[in-house]
């Protein structure tokens, strides 16, 4: 029995939580931004995959790691623009468009990957982000090695949570974003163009998603393979609901899920005689439970999934 608790006492376990959470944080913040202006972005799964590929390819062909992150972000902006053009000015179904982008971006990323590496059977690797201990803080027992011995993109994700919260709740732009997601007619009546604001926000949100994907190839692993996103995008969509569309709670949700994931991974080695697939299910099951509890109180942006056309209600 004590083996269950021993896992919780290892530094590796907690260090893994933050690492596993990082792409989820990026992705969740991306989805959250899009939904805060009233647009569902189910393109996330594909955009993360494309971001993973773009980041890897940029580094593989000689760029440095941050150039890889930048390449992913740019790719995200482009896919965001595509999604935005279809859902905002054209007002197409956000579900269908998003799923279409996921299929398109996933396939395209594998296609480009194969163009770049036509023959190799084992995926070529890059030199990934190394842990970056924060001076002084990383020396704190337990807390130091877990919290302050992460890779740079993880710190960036954590900083982004704070920045996004500040943006949404403390700046005029954030208020305009929230208003657009609640009632675009009201925003328009106050002289804010909901169409432009939605397009811009979806682009930025998609860039965050792609950076989350790039974290997979540039920090968590060191190579690209086509199925590597593995539903993380969908988890992000659920986490946004769990988080009631608030950045702070999104961080909490991502950490919670990552905790379950890290824990089940270690349980597999401790418990004998139970098929490991059951453990793989665990984080998802627990997430559904958490969602049931939290989502009942969730406050959905009022205009989510409603296309805006001037003069029409």
């Amino acid at each position: 029995m004590s083996a269950f608790f021993d896992i919780l006492l290892t530094i590796g376990m907690w260090e893994a939580v933050l690492r596993i959470a990082t792409p989820l944080i990026f992705g969740t913040l991306g989805v959250l931004l899009c939904e805060r202006v009233g647009v569902l972005n189910l393109g996330i799964e594909g955009i993360m995959s494309f971001g993973a590929m773009a980041g890897w390819l940029a580094v593989y062909s000689g760029g440095d790691l941050w150039a890889g992150m930048l390449a992913a972000a740019l790719a995200g902006l482009m896919f965001g623009l595509l999604h935005a053009l279809m859902t905002v000015p054209l007002g197409l179904s956000q579900h269908v468009t998003g799923l279409g982008i996921t299929l398109f971006a996933s396939s395209l990323s594998y296609y480009i990957f194969r163009l770049a590496v036509p023959t190799s059977s084992s995926p070529p690797t890059v030199e990934p982000f190394r842990p970056l201990p924060v001076p002084w803080l990383s020396d704190i027992p337990y807390l130091g090695p877990t919290l302050f011995n992460q890779t740079a993109p993880t710190y960036l994700a954590l900083v982004l949570v704070g920045m996004l919260a500040w943006l949404l709740y403390r700046t005029p732009l954030g208020l305009a974003l929230r208003m657009t997601g609640e009632n675009p007619h009201a925003a328009d009546a106050q002289g804010i163009d909901p169409v432009r604001l939605r397009i811009g926000t979806i682009m930025v949100g998609s860039a965050l998603m792609a950076m989350g994907g790039a974290f997979l190839t540039l920090a968590a692993f060191n190579s690209f393979f086509p199925t590597m996103v593995q539903g993380r995008g969908w988890i992000c969509v659920a986490l946004v609901v769990f988080a009631s569309w608030r950045p702070g709670r999104a961080l909490l949700g991502a950490l919670l899920f990552a905790f379950f994931d890290a824990y089940q991974l270690r349980l597999q080695t401790v418990v004998d005689g139970v098929p490991y697939q059951l453990f793989l299910m665990l984080p998802y099951l627990l997430s559904i439970l958490a969602l049931i509890v939290m989502a009942r109180r969730a406050r959905v942006p009022h205009a989510l999934m409603q296309p805006y056309r001037r003069g029409e209600r």
Partner: protein, 517 residues
């Protein structure tokens, strides 16, 4: 007087429809101008052009002599125009202060100055006597408070010209009076106002000058002091309109009776003990300020839910089932309060809407297959007999105006020849011509021997159509008074819950009856 606003030769077409043709009007400082016209006369289009939501095909707008660039709401706001929309442009999940401050600061500022915003809002609230709580969620506000907030939003943007699009459409009589006091006060403080309306008494009581629009054109301009309700009605509709009045009918047995009905938690306000009787060939008017339980009463009689206690008797018997099919089977025709959400399915066709509630009857389907030909023929007949303009059998009902949608609902209900008719706020939001039509149909149903339960907050309507009147206040029904004893003052008292006078009058009636027996 200084001219603050001038519209010159505005023309706007939507496809083949001309919404505004060569419209010119002006507004002076400190003036209240009423823009009067029926639904569809082009009032809202005109104001949307002024505010930059639409671009005019011809003509221009000048504000204090300066040409306003078309199609840019931001430019209109900067020029001092404030618009209070008919459908509130508010976000329910955000606070009052959030709603007011949106878009008022440079977007790229790193920090919103909430303190300054709050101070400015409170100062305006103080200056114009518009009370608000900056931290309240908009979803918690009453309709009247939302309206106040919309005005404050415009004032916060330093509006000097305020445009109100049918500001009283959703207000109770009392709230509307309060609003007009505010508007007069604002005009006295130097603001200039335009309010759009199709209600004659409002125009007469609140404006300095009236411009009348009909079919997109200006047909007349009058100083309010030099005109009358009658003249304006004729100018607006283009012909003389008279509301029909009630004639005596033979009354039969009691068809609908409520005995101490109580319902909690359904349809908004609770019903805390409602007793009433409606006879065949009789209209019982239920008057009351909205939110006092009348919606619950209408839902109860319509079969949406059973009473918690008390009895609802239909033709002297308690119905076996309290649900909508049961009510339809019992011959209860229903004109719902909110025609857009409960009366019609907006995206479905006219014929589908017309037959939906009787789709299982052998008339319209057999063995689970809809008889389209019969359904369409029945719909054609309704469109023709009830003069539903703009409707085609296969057109979506969403495209109809409120008045025409109401005509279709009336037609749907009355062709089934109901023995009991529940009409909840039947003329809400309709213009003068449409109201006259609705009233005629309700009187016709009564003439055919239906028991009509009329639920309304319009005093004139209730007095004109009802035989007897009860007021609803706090979920309870007052004693019934005969309509010919009713006047605005007495009904006002009854709506406020003071039933002593009503009780005395009702007592007389009882006395006479006993005498007669």
């Amino acid at each position: 007087m200084t001219r603050v606003l001038e519209l010159d030769g505005i023309t706007k077409r939507f496809g083949s429809v001309t919404a505004n043709e060569d419209v010119s009007l002006h507004l002076d400082r400190g003036e209240i101008l009423a823009l009067l016209g029926e639904n569809g006369a082009g009032k809202t289009t005109l104001m949307s052009i002024l505010f930059g939501h639409y671009t005019a095909d011809a003509g221009n707008v000048r504000i204090e002599g300066q040409l306003l660039p078309p199609g840019r709401p931001r430019a209109a706001i900067a020029a001092g125009i404030g618009m209070v929309h008919q459908h509130f442009a508010l976000a329910p999940n955000l606070s009052v202060l959030d709603n007011v401050m949106t878009g008022t600061e440079p977007l790229w500022r790193l920090r919103s100055d909430r303190r300054a915003g709050r101070a400015k809002l409170l100062a305006l609230s103080e200056k114009f006597g518009l009370k608000v709580d900056p931290d309240a969620m908009v979803s918690e506000l009453s309709v009247g408070e939302c309206q106040r907030l919309e005005i404050l939003k415009a004032l916060y943007n330093d509006a000097r010209i305020l445009i109100l699009d049918e500001p009283t459409a959703v207000l109770t009589t009392q709230e509307a009076e309060g609003l007009f006091n505010t508007l007069r006060d604002m005009a006295a403080k130097g603001l200039s106002l335009v309010f759009i309306s199709h209600k004659l008494h409002e125009v007469m009581s609140a404006s300095h000058r009236v411009t009348v629009l009909r079919r997109g054109r200006v047909v007349a301009e009058r100083r309010t002091a030099d005109t009358s309700k009658e003249e304006l009605a004729e100018l607006m509709v283009g012909r003389k309109v008279e509301r029909p009045s009630r004639t005596d009918t033979a009354r039969g047995r009691v068809l609908l009776e409520g005995r101490d009905l109580k319902v909690g938690g359904k349809g908004g306000a609770s019903l805390k003990g409602a007793s009433f009787k409606v006879r065949a060939g009789e209209t019982l008017g239920i008057i009351g300020v909205s939110g006092n339980g009348q919606t619950t009463l209408a839902g109860l009689v319509s079969g949406l839910y059973p009473p918690d206690s008390g009895a609802l008797l239909v033709a002297g018997e308690a119905p076996r089932r309290h649900d909508v099919p049961g009510a339809i089977a019992a011959g209860i025709g229903r004109i719902p309060e909110d025609r857009n959400t409960e009366g019609a399915v907006a995206e479905m066709t006219t014929w589908e809407n017309a037959v939906l509630e009787r789709i299982w009857s052998p008339e319209f389907s057999s063995r689970g297959v809809v008889k389209r030909a019969a359904a369409r023929a029945a719909t054609e007949a309704i469109i023709r007999d009830y003069d539903v303009r703009g409707a085609t059998v296969d057109g979506r009902i969403r495209l109809l105006s409120g008045g025409n949608m109401q005509k279709l609902i009336l037609g749907r209900v009355l062709t089934a020849d109901p023995s009991i008719l529940v009409a909840a706020q039947p003329s809400r939001g309709l213009d003068e011509g449409a109201i006259a039509g609705v009233h005629a149909r309700l009187l016709e149903a009564r003439g055919r021997g239906a028991a009509v339960l009329l639920i309304s907050e319009d005093l004139d309507e209730v007095i004109a159509l009802s035989d007897r009147i009860q007021a609803i206040a706090g979920g309870k029904l007052s004693p019934a008074i005969p309509a010919d004893r009713a006047d605005a003052r007495l009904l006002g008292l009854m709506m406020a819950g003071d039933w002593s006078a009503a009780r005395a009058i009702a007592g007389e009636g009882e006395g006479e009856k006993h005498h007669a027996l």
